[in-house]
């Protein structure tokens, strides 16, 4: 029994970890492009900004469970199958990228325009402004935003379990729901609560330590 729980937990952690990596890999640039192409920013491009913004909104308006089924052909194309832990990662990433991009966007908008202006005045290039001004200045907000995204992914991953993705959600449904094993249901809930608490505290700790450092 315990082994089952451990296996399911590890599957969830695996899904969430890989999905988070890909989400940050694609979502951070997407969010950054959304910011720098906005009106009055360093690479203003209204057409690109509006198009990306529209696509992001579209992706975000789909409920995860529907998105997951809708993109099954795409999932097959990427991992060769539509069932299993690896297959669950694809819809997780697709759902989380636009969400994370919006979080990155709002974090980068918090960076004062004057600071960017100062960097331009010093002759910094667009890339130098992104790498050395925007991202470092917004780092605490970005860390907190990543934490929110990871916790969201845990929630999504439980749903992915419902369609054969494995993980804690899968366990809870198969044993806790179909076989009325309330004890297993309770255990999975405890594991989820502990996971989310741990993640949130770690995120807060990291962000605060950076902020505290800057106030020393």
């Amino acid at each position: 029994m315990n082994q089952m729980l451990i296996k399911a937990t590890l599957e969830t952690l695996y899904m969430v970890f890989i999905a988070t990596s890909f989400t940050v890999l694609f979502g951070l640039p997407l969010g950054t492009v959304l910011v720098i192409t906005s009106k009055g920013h360093i690479l203003e491009n209204q057409a690109l900004h509006k198009t990306l913004s529209y696509v992001v909104n579209m992706a975000r308006s789909l409920p995860f469970i529907i998105l997951m089924i809708f993109i099954i052909p795409f999932t097959r194309l990427i991992v060769g199958t539509s069932i299993g832990t690896n297959a669950a990662i694809v819809p997780l990433v697709v759902a989380a990228i636009p969400f994370f991009a919006r979080i990155v966007e709002s974090a980068l908008y918090e960076v004062e325009g004057g600071v960017v202006e100062a960097a331009i005045a010093m002759g910094a290039s667009e890339w130098e402004i992104i790498r050395q001004v925007l991202i470092p200045e917004a780092l605490p907000s970005l860390i907190l935003g990543t934490t929110i995204t990871i916790i969201n992914l845990i929630g999504y991953s439980a749903m992915a379990g419902a369609v054969g993705g494995g993980g804690i959600g899968d366990l809870a449904i198969r044993y806790g729901y179909h076989r009325f094993r309330l004890d297993i249901m309770a255990e999975t809930i405890v594991i989820l609560i502990v996971l989310v608490q741990l993640l949130q505290s770690t995120g807060n700790l990291l962000a605060n330590s950076i902020l505290k450092h800057r106030k020393r």
Binding site: A118, A119, A121, G123, K215, R216
Partner: protein, 335 residues
């Protein structure tokens, strides 16, 4: 050093067309501390932002040294910007970096070696007297200290021009004085040309040898600061140069004269000499003495009372004005 010709900037805001700059011509010489003063919305901020192209003008020319800065793009523009320092009203320091790293930022953009960066940063920290704050973060600095970091950062690449955008407007009077002295010092020591944007005449009086008044996107007047303060006041510029006015409760009893004491004449007792020589009665209504660019300039509003008897000894107004003029006192008949 900087030649601005027919500079125009037009915004479109909703359906309104706003002329932020309307044919501005300015000539700023090397080593000048050139003040640009105007009320908010006069276009001075747009003007200074066009010099390093943080804003793009609609038309006109800006020559920095011999390069038309408006014709530059991409890398050439970034390199030109590295030769123009800028400091801001809100300092605009990077909160994620220490004082040291903030000053090192423009040097790192130049891809200087670690050692070169270190030497330059330490020299600058010494110049702005902040060596004890090397590893502090901006949030722990006072406004004056933040502006010192801003100045050090702006000077890092040894620019020939320093743009100051309301650099002291967020500071208290005492700190303002210290920062202005530092700027004056820097200009003298390194021969840097300063362009100072401000809405405070005190800043102009303290450090600017040249001044231009900007109103509604146009230059009302430009020239030597002390000359403008000591020459005949014109209606349109009067509220900038501070008119000496008589209290309205005093009835007019004679001829009122506004005297401007220039070229050191404020130090001499010219009025009492006149009174003794011609036995005239003079009523002093108001006045002040201030130092502009280390020169003492006095303004005095007096009333010449009509004389009883001894009419033959009484000089005419013209004679009086001539005598005053020979003493470097500019006199204008007000009433």
């Amino acid at each position: 050093m900087i030649k601005i010709g027919a500079l125009t900037k037009i915004y479109k805001k909703e359906d309104q067309i706003i002329k932020a700059l309307d044919g501005v011509d300015l000539h700023i010489k090397k080593g000048d501390i050139f003040g640009i003063i105007g009320l908010s919305g006069a276009g001075k901020s747009s003007l200074v932002r066009c010099i390093n192209r943080i804003e793009d003008p609609t038309s006109g020319d800006i020559f920095v040294a011999d390069t038309n800065i408006l014709k530059l793009n991409g890398k050439a523009l970034r390199e030109a910007r590295q030769g123009i320092g800028m400091i801001f009203q809100n300092f605009n320091l990077l909160s994620s970096k220490t004082v040291y790293e903030n000053i090192a930022f423009p040097l790192r953009l130049q891809k200087l070696s670690k050692e070169q960066v270190h030497n330059r940063v330490m020299a600058l920290l010494e110049k702005v007297e902040l060596t004890d704050k090397t590893n502090a973060y901006p949030v722990n600095l006072s406004g004056g200290q933040k502006q010192r970091v801003g100045i050090a950062r702006a000077l890092a690449n040894s620019p020939e021009i320093l743009l100051c955008d309301e650099a002291t407007s967020a500071l208290d009077p005492k700190t303002t004085k210290q920062i202005l002295n530092l700027l004056k010092d820097i200009s003298r020591e390194f021969g840097i040309t300063l362009v100072v944007i401000t809405h405070e005449m005190e800043v102009i009086k303290a450090i600017c040898n040249k001044v231009a008044i900007l109103e509604a996107g146009k230059v009302l007047v430009q020239g030597d600061t002390t000359e403008l303060f000591t020459s005949k006041t014109e209606e349109k510029t009067r509220h900038f140069f501070g008119e000496v006015e008589a209290p309205t409760c005093l009835p007019v009893k004679g001829t009122r004269l506004l005297l401007t004491f220039a070229k050191g004449s404020a130090k001499f007792p010219i009025l009492s000499k006149l009174i003794r020589q011609f036995e005239i009665d003079i009523n002093i209504l108001s006045g002040n003495i201030e130092s502009i660019q280390d020169e003492v300039v006095g303004k005095l509003l007096i009333e010449l009372l009509p004389q009883k008897g001894l009419a033959e000894q009484m000089p005419s107004i013209h004679e009086l004005l001539d005598i005053l003029k020979s003493e470097n006192v500019l006199a204008e008949v007000i009433i």
